[in-house]
């Protein structure tokens, strides 16, 4: 650019030193050229070099897929009655536990819901007196009790009833996850168990979303027998005075706990017949078909 400008100036100066007429015509041109040159150097210090266009290659983004497994089991036929609590404004829908109920029925276990069904998959709220009475009646006949995310706390009388039920050999299964409003610890703490509030996540290895963690480390126990890997959806950790049954890997973190430590989404209490599970939806179709969830 500078070379062409100097050529132009040279041409103008040649004109200026020509005839008088040319000189008269050329002087304004010369002034204009000098003006433009000064302006150029006053206002412009360089040129803009646009960065290269970034190729984002969106087409290379892959669609994540889950590892489905077909669960086959020859059910061991037993008998007995299992009660599922629906009397504490429990936050679950009967369709969420359909695979659990089916599996129990396959084993010859009778499933009875404690509560008054609404017809929409939920249960009506009950007074504390009616609830206590119903709990006492049901537990008298039952061999097992399942409590899923109660929104109403267990009263001291109810805790005592369940405590005596467990002492006599009754089995208790506590299920909840940190995404639901729940008062499960009012019962769990009676057995040395505590459901932690943070949601577990894994940014490295997960099923579709970081909240869907894989668990592949299990302690030997009849419950974890034949499990090699399960996927838990929005699970929480459990603290227990008893043995943990499964623990998470080093990439799994909690939204509440800072630092890396193993979390236990599955644990027993010090009494052998109380089991706590920190996730609900792993057994909900179609998530019950992922890995060993079934």
């Amino acid at each position: 650019m500078l070379a062409s400008l100097s050529n132009a100036l040279w041409a103008i100066s040649r004109l200026a030193f020509g005839s008088a007429l040319r000189r008269v015509l050329a002087i304004p041109l010369l002034v204009a050229a000098v003006y433009l040159l000064i302006a150029l150097f006053t206002f412009y210090r360089g040129t803009y070099d646009a960065p290269e266009i970034v190729d984002l290659k969106f087409e290379e983004i892959t669609t994540p897929i889950s590892a489905h497994a077909i669960f086959t089991e020859q059910p061991e036929v037993r008998s007995g009655l299992l009660v599922i609590d629906g009397a504490h404004d429990n936050e679950f829908d009967t369709t969420e536990i359909v695979s659990l109920v089916t599996s129990l029925a396959d084993q010859g276990i009778t499933v009875d819901f404690m509560g008054v069904p609404t017809g929409f998959g939920g249960f009506r709220r009950m007074t504390s007196t009616d609830r206590l009475e119903m709990l006492e009646t049901k537990l008298r006949q039952a061999g097992g009790l399942v409590v899923i995310s109660p929104r109403e706390p267990y009263s001291e009388a109810e805790q005592g009833l369940v405590g005596r039920f467990v002492e006599k050999g009754g089995r208790l299964l506590l299920i909840s996850d940190p995404t639901r409003n729940q008062q499960i610890n009012t019962l769990a703490e009676e057995f040395g168990l505590s459901f932690q509030p943070g949601v577990l996540y894994n940014q490295v290895d997960y099923d579709l979303n970081h909240h869907n963690i894989f668990v592949q480390d299990f302690f030997a126990d009849p419950v974890t027998d034949r499990l090699s890997q399960v996927a838990f959806y929005t699970a929480g950790a459990i603290r227990s005075g008893g043995p943990a049954l499964a623990y998470t890997d080093g990439n799994t973190l909690s939204t509440l706990v800072e630092g890396i430590e193993p979390f236990y989404p599955l644990a027993r209490s010090s009494q052998d017949n109380v089991l706590a599970v920190g996730v609900i939806t792993f057994m909900t179709p179609p998530q019950n078909t992922i890995l060993d969830n079934g």
Partner: protein, 308 residues
């Protein structure tokens, strides 16, 4: 005297444009308005560099991506510096990634990389009705819950790709850490390489000028200029205008675009009144972006709106 005429009167004096985006949720409307300002600076040859002063919590995925691509195109012609004010989160952060240089204040809150897709369909799909004919099992909800979770993951990866590609080797943190969706202060963002420098608006203007290779420049207030052009075009419209757009109680890009282009027919009385209220109101200009409360008015309801 001569030098004053020279410095102030020279017609080819370069300009640096300043676009002010006060606290704004990025939705179709604000994206259209910001887009109009970007068009203005792109088409004005005397504007050699652009500073976008940005304050946004993010917004819709589509409008945020639109602005990202618009700024990326503008960057091919002239340098763009984004000055992050109090908050530049999510979709706003995506938009800022297209700039040549990203600047924040030490106390700015920036980042929040990620996507929210809500509400997700319930795990158990709704029951089909024998009173309704639908052509596919997921026609009503758009897919199963797991399908939507899969889509969320794809959008997350797409956002990550933008941040990683644009920041490239400047990043001093991992992809997973960015994707946690944290907000960073300006100081932290500088430390992890999510922004280029800390400073104020004067620094941003100086940086734009430096990138453009200009000195002794004028500043252009693009918000004022664009609303002036808009008002001039609107003044040419005489008499009632009619536009059967089917919109009720609101107006969209089509109406504004029609008015910007001098259309004299086709806009309903209701829409025309709304537009005039905006022009004659306290704001004095359509292109003065609305305050937080009004700006966050949700877009028309969708089954699963995607939000950055």
């Amino acid at each position: 005297m001569g030098s004053s005429v020279f410095f102030f009167g020279y017609p080819g004096k370069p300009k640096i444009a300043v676009i002010e985006i006060p606290f704004t949720v990025i939705n179709d409307r604000s994206s259209f308005e910001i887009g109009a300002m970007l068009d203005y600076v792109r088409d004005d040859g005397s504007i050699k560099g652009v500073v976008i002063s940005l304050n946004t919590p993010g917004g819709g995925a589509g409008p945020s991506e639109e602005l990202y691509f618009e700024i990326a195109r503008l960057r091919e012609k002239k340098p763009v510096v984004v000055m992050m004010e109090d908050l530049v989160a999510s979709g706003g952060f995506m938009m800022a990634m297209a700039a040549n240089h990203v600047m924040a204040k030490p106390s700015s809150f920036v980042g929040d990389v990620g996507v929210i897709l809500s509400p997700l369909p319930s795990i158990i799909p709704s029951r089909p009705s024998d009173r309704e004919g639908v052509t596919g099992p997921f026609k009503l909800e758009g897919g199963s819950r797991r399908h939507f979770v899969t889509m969320t993951e794809q959008l997350r990866q797409a956002f990550a790709r933008i941040v990683l590609s644009e920041r490239g080797g400047k990043l001093r943190t991992t992809k997973n850490e960015i994707l946690e969706g944290n907000l960073y202060t300006g100081v932290e963002a500088m430390q992890v390489g999510l922004i280029d420098s800390l400073g104020g608006q004067t620094d941003a203007i100086a940086k734009a000028a430096s990138l453009a290779g200009v000195a002794n420049f004028d500043l252009v207030d693009v918000n004022t200029e664009v609303s002036r052009v808009f008002n001039q075009k609107l003044e040419r419209i005489n008499g009632p205008v009619r536009f059967e757009s089917g919109l009720s109680g609101g107006f969209g890009a089509a109406e504004i675009f029609a008015l910007l282009n001098g259309a004299t027919a086709g806009v309903s009385d209701e829409t025309s009144t709304l537009l005039r209220d905006l022009i004659d109101g306290d704001s004095g200009s359509l292109l003065t972006l609305p305050p937080p409360g009004e700006a966050s008015a949700p877009s028309p309801p969708m089954r699963c709106p995607t939000v950055f």
